[in-house]
């Protein structure tokens, strides 16, 4: 009860955080959507969106508004309540993890000592949303997409957790701020490069992006789990996906890239956030880069890669870390 009451005064702060969270979610979707299309364009030797605003900067706004203006379709045989619920369930929980991410040493919603757990717990709800959405569409492609999403995400959660765990062993805290503080002389990417690589691969699978975008594999499952979703509900899924990307990249930044640490900029107290966002978007750029480079893997290969490479490597890495922590 005491903890609960001690947290209560922060309710106001929570509201502020929620507003900021919404800003991040939508802003990130706009930035990422635009960056993705523009970068994809230039990788493919074409300009990408050009005509809507200067170099097409309003393209994503326009797309978003258009999706809002579309007719809401619920397929005849779909399970109506669940069908409507799924995109909300995919979208709503992404706000909470944003609360615990330390954007700089001063900008953070809450510094919970279970920060990492909050992120992981809320991320699992997304999975439930995909499952429900895939099932309730009453479409076989959706169902396949949902199945693939689940098995892939469950499998890749293991190396992801294990690689994060080896950092946790070094820092002895779940608090993200604590993790950032622990890498003050040297970033963990230097000490734990293997964990970083494993985490990087795992988040590509966790966010269902190419080359691991099997749940929405276009050429196989038309549009995967959101085949039947149109307009607003579809855009909620997309927003959720981009927000998830942001979250996992933030976690990577916090755990491996020193969070908001960087050369402090003059005359700006909150320069940490600039560094933080820079690192996050650098990772995101990497995700975009590989998306437009590689073909899609096959499902069994994806799983094999997880079980044969990632999990053993992360386990070995974890054991070595534990031993080293004990010895040093």
């Amino acid at each position: 009860m005491e903890i609960f009451y001690s947290i209560l005064p922060d309710l106001i702060r929570m509201v502020v955080c929620a507003v900021c969270g919404a800003a991040i979610v939508f802003g990130n979707a706009l930035v990422m959507g635009y960056a993705e299309r523009k970068l994809a364009g230039h990788i493919m030797l074409r300009p990408g969106p050009m005509e809507v605003g200067f170099h097409g900067v309003y393209q994503l706004v326009v797309d978003g508004l258009k999706l809002m203006g579309k007719q809401l379709v619920v397929p005849k045989n779909a399970d109506r309540p669940l069908f409507m619920l799924a995109p909300l369930l995919a979208f709503a929980p992404v706000f909470v993890p944003l609360l615990v991410i330390p954007f700089s040493d001063k900008i953070q919603g809450f510094d919970l000592d279970i920060g990492l757990l909050v992120i992981l717990a809320l991320a699992s709800i997304n999975l439930l949303a995909i499952l429900i959405g895939g099932w309730s569409s009453n479409n076989k492609y959706s169902l396949f997409g949902a199945f693939r999403a689940v098995s892939q995400n469950v499998a890749y959660e293991i190396p992801m957790l294990l690689s994060l765990l080896s950092i946790i062993f070094m820092t002895n805290t779940f608090s993200l701020k604590g993790v950032v503080a622990a890498q003050s002389p040297v970033w963990f990417i230097v000490i734990q490069p293997l964990a970083f690589l494993i985490y990087l691969v795992a988040i590509v699978a966790e966010t269902n992006r190419a080359p691991f975008d099997l749940p929405e594999a276009e050429s196989e499952l038309t549009a995967g789990f959101h085949t039947e979703y149109a307009g607003m509900s579809f855009s909620l899924f997309v927003l959720g996906e981009y927000a998830n990307m942001f979250i996992v990249c933030s976690v990577a930044t916090v755990f491996f890239l020193g969070g908001s640490s960087g050369i402090p900029l003059p005359y700006f107290e909150y320069s940490g956030i600039i560094w933080f966002l820079l690192k996050v978007y650098l990772l995101m750029f990497f995700l975009i880069w590989i998306r437009w480079t590689y073909p899609r893997t096959r499902f069994d290969q994806l799983m094999n890669f997880c079980w044969k490479y990632l999990i053993p490597f992360s386990l070995v890495n974890l054991i070595i870390t534990v031993v080293m922590v004990k010895l040093l």
């Binding site: 230039h42 990788i43 030797l45 074409r46 050009m50 480079t293």
Partner: protein, 146 residues
């Protein structure tokens, strides 16, 4: 065990090579022709729909209403009709319509024309709100043309 690691490393190397290609492409100039703003130079040999040629010397077309284009057209999209006029040898052209929506641009009509009165136009940016937009009256077009 050796193959386990060697596969890992060759695989990783191949992935890096791919990344190199795309990052290089990211910084190469685009190849796009940004259509309404700049237009590709369309080859003069481009085959658009057919048109009656306006000859400079006569100031009009040279169709003699023989109808061989109409007969040779594999998809029956040309209608040619003429009437007997006084003082003119043969028939004078009164109707020459092309239903471009059925045309397959095979060029049979152009090749069969004994007076070379037909030629391909260079129009390629056609779009319209009704299919009737593309039922051309070539006779009218040739008169309107400069």
């Amino acid at each position: 065990m050796k193959s386990y690691f060697s596969e890992l490393f060759t695989g990783a190397w191949s992935l890096i090579l791919g990344l190199k290609v795309t990052i290089k492409a990211l910084f190469t100039p685009i190849v796009t022709c940004q259509y309404p703003r700049e237009k590709l130079e369309i080859t003069p040999n481009y085959r658009g729909h057919i048109d009656l040629v306006k000859f400079a010397d006569t100031g009009t077309h040279k169709c003699i209403t023989c109808g061989s284009c109409m007969r040779d057209c594999p998809s029956d999209c040309i209608v040619v009709d003429g009437e007997k006029r006084e003082g003119v040898k043969g028939k004078a052209l009164t109707v020459f319509t092309l239903d471009f929506t059925k045309c397959s641009l095979c060029g049979a009509c152009v090749e069969v024309c004994p007076t070379k009165a037909l030629d391909y136009s260079n129009e390629y940016e056609l779009a319209g709100y009704a299919r009737e937009d593309f039922h051309y009256d070539l006779l009218k077009r040739v008169e309107e043309r400069e």
